[in-house]
Amino acid sequence: MGRNLFQKIWDDHLVRQLDSGQYQVFMALHLIHEVTSPQAFGMLKDKGLSVVYPQRTYATVDHIIPTDNQSRPLADDMAEKMIQVLSDATDQYGIEFFAPESGSQGIVHVVGPELGLTQPGMTICCGDSHTATHGAFGCIAFGIGTSQVRDVLATQTLAMDRLKVRRIRVEGELGVGVTAKDVILHIIRVLGVNGGVGYAYEYAGSVIDGMTMDERMTVCNMSIEGGARCGYINPDETTFEYLRGRERVPSGDEFETACEKWRGYASDDDAKFDDEVVINASGIKPTVTWGVTPAQAISIEEHIPSPENEEGLAKNLITDALNYMKLKPDTPIKGTRIDVAFIGSCTNGRLSDFEQVAKVISGRKVADNVRAIAVPGSEKVDVAARAAGLDKVFEQAGFEWRKPGCSMCLAMNPDKLVGDEVCASSSNRNFIGRQGSPTGRTILMSPIMVAAAAIEGHVADAREVFELTGGAS
């Protein structure tokens, strides 16, 4: 009987079963950053342990790094200290560190793929829940806690339970102006924020097959918002072409041999899945959130839901979300005034995200009431965008073009909402207080929808604002 990708990678990386019934699983690649990892080095020290496979761990800084002025020492003493602790630890243990201004620094989930560290068939972990991003390459990639970072440093393995696999097939064709971000927001809306608990998601179907690697990363990135700790896409020619020639990928004949091996990890035609869901692509519209979880989402054409149509806890959840968001039920989401527009993050901070937006904002202006920032996901994205003149296009339109980092996605750096500002955001979480103000409000959407909102000054339909017709998106 055929196996799916999850089973193949699991079998390859399985060390043994533990007495508890959990499994010890080898981690091919471990990524670390300054927020969740420095404490793990302290834990190692306390136990007199060392790092066993330092060449399988790579470090960078992303969460706390300012995106305006990155000169060291950073103005924020604690941020500086966190980077220093990470830098010292990587020195001590012989771990490669992509430091600011090294040319390779950036958001950890942008850096791994663009360097080619992320390769099909790997188990990948990182102390960050958006590690599922790497699943786009046909990897089992997932977020872990700091104690598990310690476990990986000390043993290169983790204690895990086997996951079930749900295949989500997105079939048909996406409409004009409908992006990968809309696909994943739609999936989360349909399956719920906890629909994926206990599952790895395999994204498949004609829409996924036709996506670029950047788009696939956007989809896999938000698996965790649907409750799935990891989400993946089978490796194919698109994957291999993306990897060909990357810095940390083998070249020449070795590359062809690697492709053969990678191809073998794709789910077999007769593979079994624990569950399957089919999503009709034509039903997916540009999607935006209205509430405080990523599943509280509607299409741009819909009205904000009313608690009156629900009962019990469901009713309370809508009421609470609307109170926090200060939105009126039964009114269109379109037209909701915004104060801030943010394009960036591990979800939508790659070169193609900025290319798409540049194409539509060229010659237009951000509305007077909007503070707009564009934050490249890595130094490499920044360099490539500047080389193509994208920074100028953004600046001329009234965006600030920043330096790479997580920025306003999570507000561990100076980029934050103030008071109850509303942010049209290309990031991944609209939780209460997520963007740094306890009363700040986040509306998640695709980068071109953020651009449309920035220009109109309120939530808008990018298809109308940019007069998108067949072929452009």
Partner: protein, 201 residues
């Protein structure tokens, strides 16, 4: 230390999908140790910006010293930050009872020795009513019998079997177990035959 039985008073924090940003807002993640996180648990729902109390249930006089946190569905969703269970532990809570849990959070709790037990909605409603009427009532979480005992009532609970086993045998922190098989690990590493970025092929 076996965590087969945990006893303490309860406190009910109502709501589905309580995420780790709410449990510990991101600004408190600016630290290089977890030691100081306790007071910041649920900071933004407990305190105004000037630090005055919003009257959150965790700060209610009758719930001071509570050791068992009760909540609803999908507790701990969102970010993988271990700061969330660390803050829970440093605050003095020893276990969490909920309708369901997000996986990364639950795994992090397990490693720290904080059992996350699942309880059906009807039972949870009775338990939270008990706790609200009688905040001094002792709740006993019994992982051997997979039940909670409170005010003479017994409620069934569930937990993944491997997790339960880890608590019963005090192996919830798996590090020693993981360290005990370096040869097996080496074999897998050699069989895989590649290292990212270094030893291709």
């Amino acid at each position: 230390m076996s965590l087969a039985k945990i006893a303490g008073r309860g406190v009910y924090v109502q709501g589905n999908d309580i995420d780790t940003d709410r449990i510990i807002p991101a600004r408190f993640l600016k630290c290089v140790t977890f030691d100081e996180l306790g007071p910041s648990l649920f900071a933004d729902v407990r305190f105004e910006e000037d630090g005055t109390s919003k009257g959150h249930v965790l700060d209610a006089p009758q719930h001071q010293g509570a050791e068992i946190l009760i909540s609803d569905d999908n507790f701990g969703c969102g970010s993988s930050r271990e700061h969330a269970p660390q803050a829970i532990a440093k605050f003095g809570l020893k276990a969490v009872v909920a309708g369901s849990f997000a996986e990364i959070f639950q795994g992090n709790c397990t490693t720290l020795g904080i059992p996350c037990v699942v309880m059906e909605k009807d039972d949870r409603e009775k338990l939270t009513a008990d706790v609200e009427q009688n905040p001094d009532a002792e709740i006993i979480i019994d992982l051997e019998g997979m039940q909670i005992i409170c005010v003479n009532a017994i409620y069934p609970i569930t937990m993944k079997e491997s997790t339960r086993e880890a608590f019963l045998t005090s192996t919830y922190d798996p590090l020693n177990d993981l360290l005990s098989s370096p040869k097996d690990i080496q074999q897998v590493a050699e069989k895989l035959g590649y290292s990212p970025g270094v030893d291709h092929g």
